[in-house]
Structure formats: structure tokens, C-alpha cells
């Protein structure tokens, strides 16, 4: 092979190689062109994607120079429009954006690490001057580029806040709120639920079945009635009986709602106390109803009593005329006297009917127990069958107490009727005794059983009115329960219904002591002991009269002077207080009207009680029954107009 051929072959190879290289380069050039087109297309698509992003985006090169910012970034930071030029340094960019007022004054990074170091990925939040919460996420790529994403999370934060408030409301609710999964296992309970069920915390029930809170009977009701309705309708409301952690039964008001995953949302309220309150309210309403009924009956009684009072007035007038016609000591005179007593008693009943209303106040006045016992006994004696004897053992002199004449008379009457009933129509003896009594006499000595109610006051003289029978007597059980308010033996024909709770109430109202002694087959003794009332005025007493009606006041003054007393009249209760303040010892007695415009009689008495506790006060009123609770210094209440007989009696206490 000569040199020329060799060169020719080499040249030929070189030409073909270069041609191939050109072809390859052209192919690569075409590939590059197509790749550039694809890149441009991808860049356009990327730009569209960046523009359509809900997040603001910045891209920095590894040297920290800005490559691009999308449109959303400027929506979030309008101040950045004139600042975000490509190539600007990242630190300078943010200094200028902050200086332009992009963030609220004092706004700091929220949630960023406190060391100030930059990490591959950083995340924090700031609040813009427009009040938006912006979550900023920075990420460094493998190539060292840094992407800064700015996401508006205001709606999320608001929703979180609302959720937080709602959760706080649920946790703070007084009602128990709980959620169970489809197996009935508690996955959530608020603290109220746990507390209502007497658990220390919700943790005590989380992970346990709701069935642990109900007994077998109630669970059977759940399975049979409640759960089928809940699953059929999606909700159920009603009451259930739970058992709390202490083992106590608890009444609940439940509202159950079926959740999408077949779990149950339960709102529970403990209504145990509410049910008790409802029952109590029911009882109060019943009492109110009874009171209203009694008031209606009372009103009817007062109307009837008013009419009957007119008839009694006529009878009384004619009896008074008859008394004048009968010779002293004659049998007719005695009979007329009894008629007069009966009329007086009827008058008291009428007065009581006129004053009958619920919780009627005790109308206190001086009551001669000797006379009251005698008169009442005489009325009962007339009803006794043959073979039954009533003996009266009373003092010859008056023994007075301060009290309600009608109530005391009625009580003695009840004692007598009980005694009569105890004899059961057979022969027997009833003994009525009125006597000053020492405490020891009230003991049940000689009797099989006894009971006593009330406190014996010290240093006070007492009078006792007792009724003793020789009847069937009472056993211990009856004696023990005799003073109970609801106790009655009326349905039992072998024992008597005594009504002693009423007698006890009367005794309490009069600061007295009531006693009951009995021996089965040996008789019974019922006794009432009351403080003896003594006024002890001097013969020529100094009596101050207070009445806003000058005519009535002056008239009473004249009556008192006629009875030998010294008297003065004031028409204003304030003047009376002033007089007593000046000289508390200047007067022995005050007689005051009850109805006065500035201060009523009982209020005046209370003022005087403070000035001089032992100064007695008598109240005059046209409606004695309407006077309320009396202070201790009021000795009696007398009815206006005041006649000499009543006045003398009041003063002679």
C-alpha cells in the first residue's frame, strides 16, 4: 500500500467521520431545539401553575437572589409589587417589604425556632397588616435553590378558633356530653359528664362501654325500646335511670343522636334534684290549693256567721230583757242565765267563724279558765247519758290566762268530748279540774303511760285545766303517737281520735304544756297548763291613751277616770314614744288603738317594749282577729267600742 493510497483512505475515513459528526450534531441540534420548545412549553405551564397557585411563591437561586415571584404573592403583600425585582437579594427584599408595612406592628414569627438558624425546611406564621394569618414555608432544594411559600391560613385559624371555642363550650357545659363508637365504647366525654356520674375525670370512662352506667333492668329497656327507636329515627330523647360511680341511682334526661359511623352522641342532664324539686313544688301547689279551698270555705263561713250574728244579737237582746224579768235566784233566772251563756258561746263561735282563715293568728285576751271550764262543762253535761257523771273541781276565785278564748274553750270541749267517748255510753265518771299546779303534778305517776309536750317556764305560776275519765284508756302505741300531726284513730272504732296535735298547737301558741296520761282499762287524763296572767295595776293607775281618733281617745280617757284612774290622751303614736322616752316610769299602762296612719298599735307596743319592757299595753281594735303576732308586753286585745265591763275586765287582770 503506497503512501498516496494510505492518505486517501485516511482522508476518506476522516470525511465520512466528519459527515457523521455533522449529521449527529444536526440531530442533536434538532433534539436540543425540540427540548428547548418543550422547556418553553413547560415554563409556560409552570408560570400558569404558579399564577393559579393559592399560595404566594418566591424562588431564590443558591446565592439568595430572587428568580421569580408569582402573582398570588403580590395579592398577599401588595407592598412588594415595586420591590420584587428579579435578582434582588433575599434579605434586602424582606427588609424592604417589612419597612413598607407588610406586617402588623410588633408582629413576630409564630412557631419559628428561636435559634434564628436557617434549616432545610422552615415553617412559621406572621400576621399581615391586613389581619391575615400567613403561614410561611421555606424549603431548600437539592440544587440549593430556596422556595418560599406563603399560604393564607386565616380561614383555618378562624375555624380553629371557632372549634376551640366550641370545644371550650362543650367542656364548660353543665350538661354531660359524650361520644361512643359503634361498639358503644366511650371515645369522648366532657368533664361535666364524668362529674355528673361521680367519676374523677373523663379518663375513668374513656375506653369503657356506656353500659357500665346502667343496671340490668334499664339496659333491658335500652335494648328493647330505646336503641331500636334511636336506630330507626336517628335520634331519641327521654329519661333514663343510671347508676353512678358511687352506686347511687340517678335520673337522667337523655338526648341521643346517631352519628354517621353508627356511634352515638349523647347529651345528658342529671334531673334527680329537679324531680325532687318538682315533687316538692307539687306538694306546695297542693297546699296552696288546700289553702285556697279553706279560704273559700272561710269566706262562706264568715258570710253565714254575719247573718247568724244578727240573729244572735236579737236573741241576746231578748235574753237580756228576760234576765230583768226573772227574780234573782229563781229557777227561771238560772235557766235564762244558761241561755245567756249558750248565746255567749254561740257568739264566740260566730266570731271564730268570722275570723276563720288559714293560719289564723291567736287573738289573746284575758280568759278566766275557771269560768270557761265551768261553762263548757255545763254544755257537755247536758249531753251525757244516764249513768255518766261529770264532776267539776274548780277554784272559787278567778284564775286568768292570756289567750284566745274561743280556742281554749274549744280545746276544753274536745277534752270533754273525748272523755265522754271513752266511756262508750257506759257508766263512768268525768272529772274536770282547774287549779294552780306545780310541775310535779303533771308527772304520769299512777298511770301506765304518759306523754308530755311543751316546756314548763321557770318562775311563772301555772294553771292547769284537766279532764279525766274512767273509760277504756289507751295503750302505749297510741299515747306515743297522740301528738303527731297526721295521727288519727278515727278509722279504728276501738280507740279514739283525740286531735291532740291541734291541742298541742294551741298549747304552743299560749306557751303552755300539754300532758296525756292513760292506763288501758283504767281511764285517761288530758291536761293543759298555761301561765297565769296577772296585771297588778295600782288602784289609781296612770294610763296613757293613744288613738288617732280624738273622739274615741277622749271618750276612753273619760271612762278610765270614771273607774278611778288618772289618764291622758295623745293622738299620735310618735308623741307617745317621745313621752315614754322622756320618762319611762311616768305611766303604769298604755292603751292604744291598733289602726293608726303612721304606726299601728302592735308596732307602737314593740317600741315601748324597748323603752320599758315591763310596761303593759292594751290594744283596742274593731277587728280583734286581724291583729297579728303580739309583742310580750301586750296583755290583751279588746274590741272597740270599749264598754265599761270589758274595760274593767282588761284592767283587773
Amino acid at each position: 500500500m503506497d503512501r498516496q493510497e494510505l492518505l486517501s483512505r485516511q482522508l476518506d475515513r476522516e470525511i465520512r467521520a466528519r459527515q457523521e459528526a455533522e449529521r449527529l450534531l444536526e440531530d442533536k441540534s434538532n433534539e436540543l431545539y425540540e427540548a428547548r420548545l418543550r422547556a418553553e412549553h413547560a415554563e409556560a405551564a409552570l408560570s400558569d401553575a404558579l399564577r393559579s397557585l393559592d399560595d404566594g411563591l418566591l424562588l431564590f437561586d443558591p446565592a439568595g437572589k430572587l428568580i421569580l415571584a408569582n402573582r398570588r404573592f403580590f395579592d398577599i403583600y401588595p407592598q412588594a409589587r415595586s420591590i420584587c425585582e428579579p435578582g434582588i437579594d433575599e434579605g434586602r427584599l424582606w427588609r424592604q417589604i417589612i419597612a413598607a408595612g407588610a406586617f402588623t406592628s410588633g408582629s413576630r414569627r409564630i412557631g419559628a425556632p428561636g435559634d434564628g438558624k436557617r434549616r432545610r425546611t422552615d415553617r412559621w406564621e406572621r400576621i399581615t397588616s391586613g389581619g391575615r394569618h400567613i403561614c410561611i414555608i421555606e424549603h431548600e432544594t437539592e440544587a440549593g435553590q430556596r422556595i418560599s411559600i406563603h399560604r393564607d391560613v386565616s380561614d383555618i385559624r378562624i375555624a380553629e378558633a371557632q372549634l376551640h371555642w366550641r370545644l371550650a363550650a362543650i367542656e364548660g357545659a353543665a350538661d354531660g356530653i359524650s361520644i361512643t363508637d359503634e361498639q358503644g365504647i366511650y371515645t369522648y366525654l366532657n368533664e361535666a359528664h364524668a362529674r355528673l356520674m361521680k367519676y374523677d375525670s373523663a379518663a375513668g370512662l374513656i375506653g369503657r362501654s356506656w353500659r357500665v352506667l346502667y343496671d340490668a333492668e334499664e339496659l333491658e329497656r335500652f335494648d328493647r325500646e330505646i336503641l331500636p327507636q334511636l336506630h330507626a329515627r336517628g335520634a331519641w330523647q327521654g329519661t333514663a335511670r343510671a347508676v353512678n360511680n358511687y352506686g347511687d341511682t340517678q335520673q337522667q334526661e337523655l338526648s341521643l343522636n346517631l352519628l354517621p359511623g353508627r356511634g352515638i352522641l349523647c347529651v345528658m342532664r342529671d334531673i334527680t334534684e329537679k324531680l325532687k324539686a318538682d315533687a316538692e313544688q307539687q306538694r306546695v301547689m297542693q297546699r296552696l290549693f288546700e289553702a285556697e279551698r279553706m279560704e273559700a270555705v272561710g269566706q262562706l263561713a264568715r258570710v253565714v256567721a254575719h247573718d247568724f250574728s244578727n240573729v244572735l244579737t236579737a236573741i241576746s237582746a231578748f235574753v237580756g230583757a228576760l234576765e230583768g224579768e226573772c227574780a234573782s235566784g229563781s229557777k227561771a233566772g238560772a235557766l235564762v242565765g244558761k241561755i245567756s251563756s249558750a248565746v255567749d258561746h254561740a257568739g264566740e263561735i260566730v266570731e271564730r267563724l268570722q275570723g276563720s282563715y288559714i293560719n289564723r293568728k291567736v287573738s289573746k285576751s284575758r280568759v278566766d279558765l275557771v269560768r270557761l271550764a265551768r261553762d263548757t262543762s255545763e254544755m257537755v253535761r247536758a249531753t251525757l247519758p244516764t249513768g255518766q257523771e261529770l264532776r267539776l273541781r274548780v277554784s272559787n276565785s278567778d284564775i286568768s290566762v292570756q289567750g284566745d278564748h274561743a280556742q281554749l274553750g274549744q280545746m276544753i270541749m274536745n277534752f270533754l268530748v273525748n272523755a265522754r267517748d271513752a266511756l262508750k255510753g257506759e257508766s263512768g265518771l268525768i272529772t274536770v279540774t282547774v287549779e294552780e299546779l306545780a310541775q310535779r303534778k303533771l308527772d304520769g305517776n299512777g298511770w301506765a303511760y304518759s306523754a308530755k309536750r311543751g316546756r314548763w317556764p321557770s318562775g311563772v305560776d301555772m294553771v292547769c285545766v284537766s279532764v279525766e275519765d274512767s273509760g277504756c284508756g289507751m295503750d302505749e302505741a297510741v299515747i306515743k303517737r297522740a301528738f303527731e300531726p297526721e295521727f288519727s284513730t278515727k278509722n279504728d272504732k276501738t280507740v279514739r281520735g283525740l286531735g291532740l296535735s291541734t291541742a298541742k298547737a294551741v298549747a304552743d301558741a299560749h306557751r303552755g304544756v300539754i300532758s296525756l296520761c292513760s292506763t288501758p282499762g283504767g281511764g285517761t287524763r288530758a291536761a293543759l297548763c298555761l301561765p297565769i296572767y296577772r296585771l297588778n295595776l295600782p288602784e289609781e293607775a296612770r294610763i296613757l291613751v293613744v288613738d288617732d281618733d280624738p273622739l274615741a281617745g277622749e271618750s276612753l280617757t273619760l271612762q278610765l277616770e270614771a273607774l278611778g284612774h288618772r289618764s291622758a290622751f295623745l293622738d299620735h303614736p310618735g308623741d307617745a314614744i317621745g313621752v315614754l322616752k322622756d320618762d319611762p316610769q311616768a305611766w303604769d299602762l298604755v292603751i292604744t288603738d291598733q289602726q293608726m296612719p303612721y304606726l299601728d298599735g302592735t308596732s307602737l307596743a314593740r317600741h315601748l317594749l324597748e323603752l320599758r319592757p315591763e310596761l303593759p299595753v292594751i290594744i283596742c281594735t274593731g277587728l280583734p282577729g286581724s291583729v297579728g303576732a303580739l309583742p310580750n308586753n301586750v296583755t290583751t286585745v279588746i274590741k272597740k267600742p270599749v264598754d265599761d265591763r270589758i274595760l274593767t275586765a282588761a284592767l283587773s287582770n
Partner: protein
């Protein structure tokens, strides 16, 4: 296989055996291209080995020597096409460590789907630099030539120990290169 290696082969044969031997080798190989290779081309490896086998038939050259020389020439070409700053800034260890990058830069930029050999470089406890070569092709001799070419470029005269790794078919080998001061 990249055209730069074919061009290296042609250069080696011409340098060591003369241009006539190149023609003989090409004639013996009877390839359609008949030696027209460009450095930016990509040719079947079978064609490369056909040329090497032809060379063996028409001369006494060993395949390993030929491949080593091709490696030297190839790496010299790569280094020459690099920017001057990059090449001079690196010492021996880092230069060896950059072999992978050099190959990638010259192959993958033109042929992204190329399958290229792997050069894992580390420093052993005894201070030697260990280069572990793995390739789907049995070209450990070529790799050795590349390492030697790197040393040539740096002007370093040092010891290179080669250990063929299983299955010892030229697809994997470990090269231990002593640093000049060891």
C-alpha cells in the same frame, strides 16, 4: 460505546504500529463503517472488540495493553475538553474521584440513556486511594488505562495495584493507588 474510545483505539494503533497497521486492522475487520468514527458518535461495543481482535490477528499486540492505552488516551481527551481551572485545581485523590463525573459529563450530555461504568473512590486506612470499578462491559483494562492516564496528567509516578473482582471477567476490579508520599 462512545466514539471517543474508537478514536482512541485508532490513535493507539497508528501511534504504536503505524498507519498501515490501522488499514490492515480495518481491512481484516471488514466493518461497514470502515474506521469512520467521530468522537461524538455512539457505536456498538461488538464493533470495538472486532477491531481489537483484528489487530491481534495482524500484529502481536495484547488486548489488555491496547485497552490500557485506549484508556490513557480517552482520559487525556476528557481532561483536555475540561475547563483549565477545574483540572488544575484537583489533586490525585480528588482527580480520581472525579473520574465518574468526567465520564458522565462526556457521555450522558449527548446520550442521556447511556449505561456508563461506576468508579467508587475512597481512601483506605493505609492511606492508599482505592478505586472500585464496575461495569456491564468487560472493560477493566480500559479503566486501568484511565487511572494511569490520570496519573500521567498529574505527572505522578506511583504504584497502582489491580485486583480483579469476581467473577473476574473484566467487569469489576479494585485499583489501589499509592499516594506519592507513601
Amino acid at each position: 460505546m462512545k466514539g471517543v474510545v474508537f478514536r482512541a483505539l485508532m490513535g493507539v494503533v497508528e501511534e504504536h504500529f503505524g498507519p498501515v497497521m490501522v488499514e490492515k486492522m480495518l481491512d481484516d475487520a471488514r466493518l461497514a463503517r470502515h474506521g469512520a468514527y467521530t468522537t461524538v458518535g455512539d457505536y456498538p461495543i461488538e464493533e470495538f472488540f472486532a477491531l481489537v481482535q483484528s489487530l491481534q490477528r495482524v500484529s502481536d499486540a495484547s488486548q489488555a495493553d491496547i485497552l490500557r492505552e485506549c484508556g490513557r488516551r480517552t482520559i487525556a481527551y476528557f481532561i483536555a475538553t475540561q475547563s483549565k481551572d477545574e483540572g488544575e485545581a484537583l489533586g490525585l485523590e480528588k482527580m480520581l474521584a472525579s473520574l465518574q463525573g468526567l465520564i458522565e459529563a462526556n457521555y450522558v450530555k449527548l446520550y442521556p440513556d447511556s449505561v456508563i461504568p461506576s468508579f467508587q473512590v475512597r481512601t483506605a486506612e493505609d492511606g492508599w486511594v482505592v478505586v472500585e470499578y464496575r461495569s456491564p462491559r468487560p472493560m477493566a483494562d480500559l479503566a486501568e488505562g484511565m487511572i494511569l492516564g490520570t496519573l500521567d496528567h498529574l505527572g505522578v509516578d506511583t504504584q497502582v495495584q489491580r485486583t480483579d473482582l469476581p467473577p473476574k471477567d473484566g467487569r469489576a476490579a479494585q485499583f489501589r493507588v499509592a499516594l506519592p508520599d507513601t
